[in-house]
């Protein structure tokens, strides 16, 4: 895989199979034990590893079969947090928004066992998946820390511990998502400082996913975020963020979203391939990674699979175009 270009990947979550959704509901009502639920989560994870291999994705994820929400999952495992009542996110979607009630501490690793299990199932690399400190702060209520910076730096410390444990467990890619990074553009220095705490000792490739917000408001400043790769939703925005790169060169690896995740319909392979070609105008094929815009947890298993299929097919179309263009060079080698 090392000489492959346009490595394909996904943002992290996939649709959960019906049996797992039912089991989670039963568990929430106290009608199914933790051990039984974990067994089903492992089964669903293995199914998703096989699907990703079958789809021929290059860099895999565990699919987050064991997570509901990307902030609540960590809030439930960190000391200092408690879960509040239901709050609406959009439409008819609600979540338990966490409350930082006292200083945070990580009693033990939160995702390392799932990483080990998933990586043991495949030879392809699996990404370690974490939520970044600024997003953990912004998507929680802060009752414990005097300032938002104080809270972000305290959260950065526990995310750093988790990221270093993932690296020690063998993770070659560690993704630290910051979808809230543009919530308050005037606070981007806090997000950058906090990410610096997380990644300071990492040798693994570091990635941060950013979506749903005014990316223009934080560009080019966001290039100072201390990660190797930015992972951006583009299809949902008609690729308009690419125009920003005309003015200020994009200097990181770019994981480019080429299919919208919030629609039941998926773009055609041709449309998705055009997205990759647009990305190639700004980022070299070695540094461009096609993927769906965002996590696929709001989609069904079949829809998730279809979106990934289109990503991989579109990538293969563009790879063969690139190979044709490069034929003379290849002969020379």
């Amino acid at each position: 895989m090392s000489d492959q270009v346009l490595l394909t990947t996904t943002v992290g979550s996939f649709g959960k199979p019906d049996y797992l959704q039912k089991a989670r509901n039963a568990n929430a009502r106290g009608k199914l034990g933790e051990a039984e639920l974990t067994e089903l989560e492992r089964r669903a994870t293995e199914e998703w590893v096989r699907r990703q291999e079958r789809l021929d994705l290059d860099i895999l994820v565990d699919g987050e079969m064991y997570r509901g929400d990307m902030v609540a999952y960590f809030a439930e495992r960190l000391e200092g947090f408690r879960l509040g009542g239901l709050v609406r996110s959009y439409g008819n979607r609600y979540y338990h928004k966490p409350i930082i009630a006292s200083p945070v501490r990580r009693p033990k690793p939160m995702t390392v066992d799932w990483f080990r299990f998933t990586q043991s199932l495949t030879d392809r690399p699996v990404k370690g998946m974490l939520t970044g400190p600024y997003t953990l702060l912004d998507w929680s209520y802060n009752e414990a820390y005097r300032t938002r910076r104080d809270a972000a730096l305290a959260l950065a410390e526990v995310v750093r511990q988790e990221a270093e444990d993932l690296q020690a467990a063998g993770a070659r890619y560690i993704q630290i998502d910051e979808p809230a990074i543009h919530a308050r553009p005037e606070e981007i220095d806090i997000a950058i400082e906090a990410m610096g705490v997380v990644t300071q000792n990492l040798r693994a490739k570091t990635i941060s996913h950013i979506c749903y917000g005014d990316f223009a408001a934080i560009y080019p400043k966001v290039l100072d975020l201390p990660v190797d790769q930015l992972d951006l939703a583009m299809a949902n925005y008609g690729y308009r963020w690419l125009e920003l790169f005309d003015r200020d060169r994009f200097t990181k690896e770019l994981a480019i979203g080429i299919v919208d995740v919030h629609s039941h319909q998926t773009e055609s392979v041709a449309t998705a391939a055009e997205g990759i070609r647009r990305g190639l105008r700004y980022v070299s094929k070695e540094r461009l990674l096609p993927h769906p815009d965002c996590g696929l947890k709001t989609r069904t298993v079949e829809e998730s699979e279809e979106k990934c299929r289109v990503v991989v097919e579109a990538t293969k179309v563009v790879r063969s175009e690139l190979a044709r263009q490069a034929t003379p060079a290849k002969t020379a080698r």
Binding site: G85, L86, R88, N92, D138, Y141, E143, G213, D260
Partner: protein, 320 residues
């Protein structure tokens, strides 16, 4: 000194999830539009009942039928479609971005039925609410108008028509929810021209600003032709409280933070109210949460309202 609410009330609580279930059933085709509408009415009754029961003086209908602040208008107006999900300012809450595809037009009756229903339920004084024209215009994707000025004034004309409709249905006060004004103070001249068109509808207006500090706009706000101006003095760093005497309108002071779960103590709130009363007379002071309570879990929203009402009474302005 009256207490009031602005914006949306939580649509469900951890215990009361009828609406959430009904919407799921509607999505699956198990509940028709009429059935869903019935549940929406029942949920509205529940929200209004709670606002009345806590003792808020001037309430709204809780906006339970609003998916987001722009949705009722984007759905009803000609020339508008609904586009992709977007983040609503600095909240982890999302809205469907309106897409303006042609000239905006409305019959002015978008909110009339819901207002009339709420009037049959509310015990106390009921006010209506509309989306601020600058907020709608800055959040929409525009494929028709040529400038922010043109777009905002076209939206303002449509909203003025909605306000006339509400006035004819008996509304005596309409909140104009305009976070864009404080998010983009540089557009205040456009916002003012738009609000002038709304004021021409002849119904008293309350211009509600929130999410961002109002400090840079305080002088400019005095010239807006509205009866009330809502200002958040709790959730962000601001010095507005010291300068309230600048304003000539009634001030709707946002004193409980509707975006944080820490419940303000009565002492804290009374101190804020007393500071405000040093600058403006009690007849010109209303008290409110900083924004819509839907950003809080239901149980905390109720606790915050209780604090608000208790503090208002303790500060002496409201007879229990």
């Amino acid at each position: 000194m009256k207490t009031t609410v602005i914006g949306a009330y939580p649509k469900i609580s951890d215990e009361h999830q009828d609406l959430r279930r009904a919407l799921h059933r509607h999505d699956r085709g198990e509940l028709d539009a009429e059935g869903l509408s019935g549940v929406l009415d029942e949920s509205t009754r529940w929200a209004i009942g709670e606002l009345d029961w806590v003792g808020v003086d001037v309430i709204n209908d809780g906006q339970l039928r609003w998916d987001d602040m722009l949705a009722p208008f984007a759905r009803a107006w000609e020339g508008c479609d609904r586009g992709p999900l977007e983040r609503f300012y600095d909240n982890n809450t999302y809205f469907r971005q309106p897409v303006i595809t042609g000239p905006i037009a409305t019959d002015g009756k978008t909110l009339v039925r819901d207002f009339e229903f709420a009037r049959t339920v509310a015990r106390g004084q009921l006010k209506a609410a509309v989306c601020g024209p600058l907020t709608f215009a800055t959040l929409a994707e525009d494929r028709h108008y040529r400038s922010l000025w043109d777009r905002t004034l076209a939206v303002a004309d449509a909203i003025a028509s909605e306000i006339r409709g509400l006035g004819a249905a008996g509304a005596t006060l309409v909140d104009v929810e305009e976070p864009a004004l404080v998010a983009h103070p540089e557009h205040f001249a456009i916002a003012r021209a738009a609000i002038e068109r709304l004021a021409a509808a002849g119904v008293p207006l309350a211009l509600q600003t929130y999410f961002f500090p109002a400090d840079p706009l305080l002088d400019a706000l005095t010239a807006f032709p509205v009866a009330q101006i809502g200002i958040d003095v709790r959730s962000r760093e601001t010095h507005v409280l010291d300068k309230l005497s600048t304003l000539r309108q009634t001030v709707v002071l946002g004193i409980v933070d509707a975006r944080n779960t820490r419940v303000e103590t009565e002492g804290e709130l009374v101190r804020t109210i007393e500071a405000a009363l040093k600058r403006i007379p009690a007849e010109y002071l209303w008290l409110a949460p900083t924004t819509g309570l839907e950003y809080l879990p239901h149980d905390v929203a109720v606790q915050k309202l209780r604090s608000l009402v208790t503090a208002a009474r303790a500060a002496g302005g409201v007879k229990a």
